[in-house]
């Protein structure tokens, strides 16, 4: 229901600690980070943007773990397919 896009903080705007300049694949906008008070955001952090506000800080560790899971089953599937191909070739 709500479009949320990940972006990378490139700068916390001086004099405005509740605003950060955020980069989304080469496009930049000032994003309000007031809802992430206490997260100690810094350039290089990734946040989820919704209607000009940062709703959450993206957890790199969790992202890594999730990708590892996906890559794991992707690899297992690829191996299985390869094995299947080999066995059909042998049979053939």
């Amino acid at each position: 229901m709500c479009l949320g896009i990940p972006g990378e903080i490139v700068q916390i705007i001086p004099d405005r600690p509740d605003l950060a300049k955020v980069d989304v694949s080469g496009v930049r906008r000032a994003i309000n980070i007031g809802l992430l008070d206490g997260e100690h955001l810094a350039p290089g952090d990734w946040i989820l943007i919704h209607v000009g506000f940062a709703l959450s800080k993206i957890d790199e560790e969790e992202a890594k773990a999730a990708l590892a899971f996906l890559e794991g089953i992707g690899q297992a599937y690829a191996d299985e397919m390869a094995a299947l191909r080999d066995s059909t070739i042998e049979k053939g």
Partner: protein
């Protein structure tokens, strides 16, 4: 539609869910081909966006009044006595934007409409509607860019008109251009000429102009290093038509309002063919994609002013690509899809994710969305 009837009738007897869905789809297709009717009592912005609303307005108001064999094909221009003839009006805000001005658009837009007919653009008219109070210096800037664009495209502006409206009744400056071009090649291009086995080519990365304008208005407060793609495409079409003679090029259209998606829908409908696009193959610049993701817009619907779609016979695909890539404006040209037989009138997209979906005509302008 008639060959579908037996299938639908058989389905009604059996009442299989998949077939029931097919019946509904047929019913929808019939509804979509009903005579266009304008439901609104007044013009709204959708009527100018190039999507379904524009189409309905043209069919129900203009075509009703002006119908004739030259107008009826609704191509980019009309073919009259060996000439291609076209007109276009330009109402862009802001008038000056990264990569161009309203003047560039006014020249390139008409040049491109002529080029898409397969013609060599020759002569343009320019009509100005100026608002009281508009700075002469700005007008000079516009006319200078028009002169430069005309020179680049090898056309002359040979006639014109000026009108001034009261302050508040115009947006500074509107321009209308009309143009004629010489048709000295054999190939006759048409929106209804695509055939199964043909390929769809786009001449470069899409959507840059539309996103540049959207950002240049400043309301979205988004910055990006993007410039409008406005450019004359007549050199490119010349190369393509010379490399692929004898009707191997079926159809050309510059992807302006409504973007690539709208053109392909018009073509699929007119040629009674299907189009299968490969999402992965469609060239989109990184920043255009970023802006589109952020704003919830699909780049396939975003306007370009210097990109075209070409439908070319399958065996000529490589020759066509080479011809386009030999010109700087076509350096990133790519085959993005192919023409099939079934289902006629439908544009399908194989997504990068590996799924399938429809690419439909948009109702109005693509709007930034939050959900």
């Amino acid at each position: 539609m008639s060959d579908e009837r037996p299938r639908a009738e058989a389905a009604r007897d059996r009442d299989v869910p998949g077939d029931r869905e097919a019946q509904v789809l047929e019913r929808i297709e019939r509804a979509r081909h009903r005579k266009a009717r304008v439901r609104e009592e007044r013009i709204n912005l959708s009527h100018g966006a190039g999507g379904k609303a524009t189409h309905t307005l043209i069919e129900a108001v203009f075509m009703e009044a002006f119908r004739n064999p030259l107008l009826e094909p609704l191509e980019d221009g009309a073919i009259v006595d060996g000439f291609a003839f076209t007109t276009d009006s330009f109402v862009v805000t802001p008038l000056f934007f990264p990569g161009g001005t309203i003047g560039d658009l006014a020249v390139n837009g008409t040049v491109n409409d002529l080029a898409m007919c397969g013609a060599r653009p020759r002569h343009l008219s320019a009509g100005f509607i100026l608002e009281e109070g508009f700075p002469i210096a700005d007008l000079r800037r516009i006319t200078e860019t028009m002169a430069a664009a005309a020179e680049k495209a090898g056309v002359q502006i040979v006639t014109g008109d000026t009108k001034v409206v009261q302050r508040g009744k115009g947006d500074g400056c509107y321009i209308n251009t009309a143009g004629i071009g010489v048709l000295d090649r054999e190939t006759r291009l048409s929106v209804s000429a695509a055939r199964p086995g043909d390929v769809v080519i786009v001449s470069g990365p899409i959507g840059e102009h539309g996103i540049t304008i959207m950002l240049a208005r400043g309301e979205l407060d988004i910055e990006a290093d993007l410039t409008s793609d406005t450019a004359p495409l007549s050199a490119l079409t010349g190369l393509l038509l010379d490399a692929c003679p004898d009707g191997q090029v079926r159809f050309l259209r510059d992807a302006t309002r409504g973007g690539v998606a709208t053109i392909l829908n018009e073509m699929a409908e007119a040629s009674k063919v299907s189009v299968v696009l490969e999402e992965d193959a469609v060239p989109v610049k990184t920043a255009v994609r970023g802006a589109c993701e952020l704003l919830g817009i699909d780049p396939l619907y975003v306007a370009c002013e210097g990109r075209m779609v070409a439908v070319v016979a399958g065996p000529a695909a490589d020759t066509a690509l080479a011809a386009l890539r030999s010109h700087p404006l076509g350096a990133d040209a790519a085959v993005v899809g192919r023409i099939g037989e079934d289902p006629p009138g439908l544009v399908l997209l194989r997504t990068a994710f590996g799924g399938t979906r429809i690419v439909d005509v948009l109702v109005g302008d693509p709007l930034p969305r939050i959900c």
